[in-house]
Symmetry: C2
Subunit: 457 residues, 2 copies
Amino acid sequence: MPQITAVTVEDVRFPTSLTGDGSDAMNKDGDYSAAYVVLHTDGTDTTGAPLAGHGLTFTIGRGNDIVAAAAAQQAAHLVGWDIDEMAADMGRVYRFLSSDSQLRWLGPEKGVVHLSLAAVLNASWDLVARRASKPLWQLLTDMTPEQLVDIADLRYLSDALTRDEALEILQAQEAGKAGRVAELARRGYPAYTTSAGWLNYDDDKLRRLCQEAVDAGYGYVKLKVGADLDDDIRRCTIAREIIGYERELMIDANQVWDVGQAIEWVRELARFEPLWIEEPTGPDDILGHAAIRRAVAPIGVATGEHCHNRVMFKQLFQAGAIDFCQLDTGRLASINEIVSVLLLAAKFGVPVCPHAGGVGLCEMVQHVAVLDYVAVSGDLTNRVTEFVDHLHEHFTDPCVVSDSGHGTAYVLPRDPGYSTRLHPESIDTYRFPEGHYWASAPTPGLGNIGVAAAVKP
Amino acid sequence: MPQITAVTVEDVRFPTSLTGDGSDAMNKDGDYSAAYVVLHTDGTDTTGAPLAGHGLTFTIGRGNDIVAAAAAQQAAHLVGWDIDEMAADMGRVYRFLSSDSQLRWLGPEKGVVHLSLAAVLNASWDLVARRASKPLWQLLTDMTPEQLVDIADLRYLSDALTRDEALEILQAQEAGKAGRVAELARRGYPAYTTSAGWLNYDDDKLRRLCQEAVDAGYGYVKLKVGADLDDDIRRCTIAREIIGYERELMIDANQVWDVGQAIEWVRELARFEPLWIEEPTGPDDILGHAAIRRAVAPIGVATGEHCHNRVMFKQLFQAGAIDFCQLDTGRLASINEIVSVLLLAAKFGVPVCPHAGGVGLCEMVQHVAVLDYVAVSGDLTNRVTEFVDHLHEHFTDPCVVSDSGHGTAYVLPRDPGYSTRLHPESIDTYRFPEGHYWASAPTPGLGNIGVAAAVKP
């Protein structure tokens, strides 16, 4: 019965560029940001508090206002919708929001209008999960195979995955679902850390953070590479000194290389036996990733945080281009498109290791990883979900990572929703440009980094 | 010496949805629109008029404001730049505008921020051509091979096209450039028409427009298909009755099919011997286009108007996915990225037949087609550029199409610039939402089509 009564969209930016958190070879000065959508209703949750849905997409600063403006246009049309009707047919909500052909022209299914669609749909999924008083992973794993396929967007996929094949994949996992939930409740979902290896950190900080990762129980550590080969060799040497070879090292170039250069560079780093090279070249280059993968095996190729839709993932699988699928919950159009990618990955036997970090991505991917294991792949082999220890303090239900004796892992979330509700005080402080922080920042209205300085040719 | 002193960006929308102009199986109700950038300077042109650069990208209505907002952010940083310094190194202007890593995150190189980048760079190219008192095609064909390669963005392309190969392609055409310019001055650049076949036109209008196309000297006519097979068969029958088989018929599905469905549907229409099937499936599906091409030969596969960057075109060529490259001057990042695609197309032997229509696309593509023939491919075989007879009256230097005895062709443009300056009265009338037209439209502030009606699930 409750209805959506109003929509608010906030441009929230955190000053991460000041500390070098999040720095890599392509993105040297990001201010981690969220285009944050709230769907207000006239209902209450089981505690009597006002019922609302909260969703976001992640950007790195400038342009977050553009994404917010697009999200506001898309979300405005949800006012008046009945929450229970939405919950009964989330495929319809997805088709409604994605079928405005005039906005579709601006992608299609990519860039700003797809990022904003992700934010609006993430808020919608948070809303229906809160309405059901379930964490989102549970709402989804409680669905039947038919219900899950009905919410998935299978358009343009039938040459790789038919509806019947999708149903078969899900039906095969039905019997073991409860057991796998119990297993995750016990041991959590495996996590790795990126917090140690940002490119702007000096060697001492790298050494210290690698040691902290080992002490915290991590079996996996990721380093940023790609700006300078000598630096990369020195940093990988330090990392391996600390973590040894009984733990996995991953490296991430954030798209800076051409195909040939990627192959040469990775071969220079092969002595450090990385588990994967992440984003070795432009994210649209399916055939390029396939060529790199053939050339650098047995080092794996990982990509996906900038893979903009299910059609691109379909081709990455068809071309045998990747060993690890790093889908992103702020870039794909929420659960409706993510389920499609999980199904494709299962069909092609590629493990899904979601991209996280940023703002709220860790909070979201824990639900996706659980969904994948419980209902879709039924497999933890080679699966490990990114964790970055930043900005969680801004969320009312932050993700929790701990070592339960099986290696560091995400603790199964229990609070209703998609875990992406921000504290009101965080919004007030970091709302751009008028929040307390930004109003008194070095260059008010421009962010931490003056644009001219950032883009000087 | 003259400098850019100010930037204005306009959201201009034309009410094309009211007449069904531009209607196709995916886009039933577009209001053809332009995010229109003007770079104002303190200089004058050779006539003593104020010197300014005018550029646009094309959208179909809602969201044009979002693109305009992105263009305003990008273009603002050009204030203070010296026009002659820009003209001397347009590669630097491109790198400056495209290297804001915070905005890059929103693509990268796709969607709203790439459309807006196209608009800003199109205005920059118009400006430097006007400063040189040359039509843009001439400014470009007067460049040396080194100069042309220096303005091109070759990043991520080296596995398919090296800088040396690019130079060789251009050097091979140097000797014949003057002769080809003289030839185009005589006969124009071959054109085909899409005006006859919009999906919402009834059979009588289709018949009449096909006859008019024949009477006007067109050797090529294109129809929209893909909504209903029986309709398509009836419409193709009518078109062939009128144009016969001595002229070419092309069909365009605007992305509505999955791969298998495209193959079946096109085989049903094969009896009409279309020259090409355009946009048979999702524009990101490189491998899907390759599969369709293998299955429907000898019917050609054409795509590109939604191909969002040079990396996607590279792969379409590498995968043998297309017979015709329909690059778009509002979607690629202006001449800097278009030159890269022309070079790739020449290397792989794929003819370039640019997408046009919309708002101002015909005005721009005439320059690109001339550049391709004169300086890059040196070939007219299987090349024909789209022409749609809409909205040209809004431009101060509209393109002209006529039949000089060699079939209908674009007349070589002679006015300085990129031909995309709008009449001030057109802007005043169609500025959204406050222009005279929209202020008195049926649903002021929403466009012609109420959003709820447009996207009803």
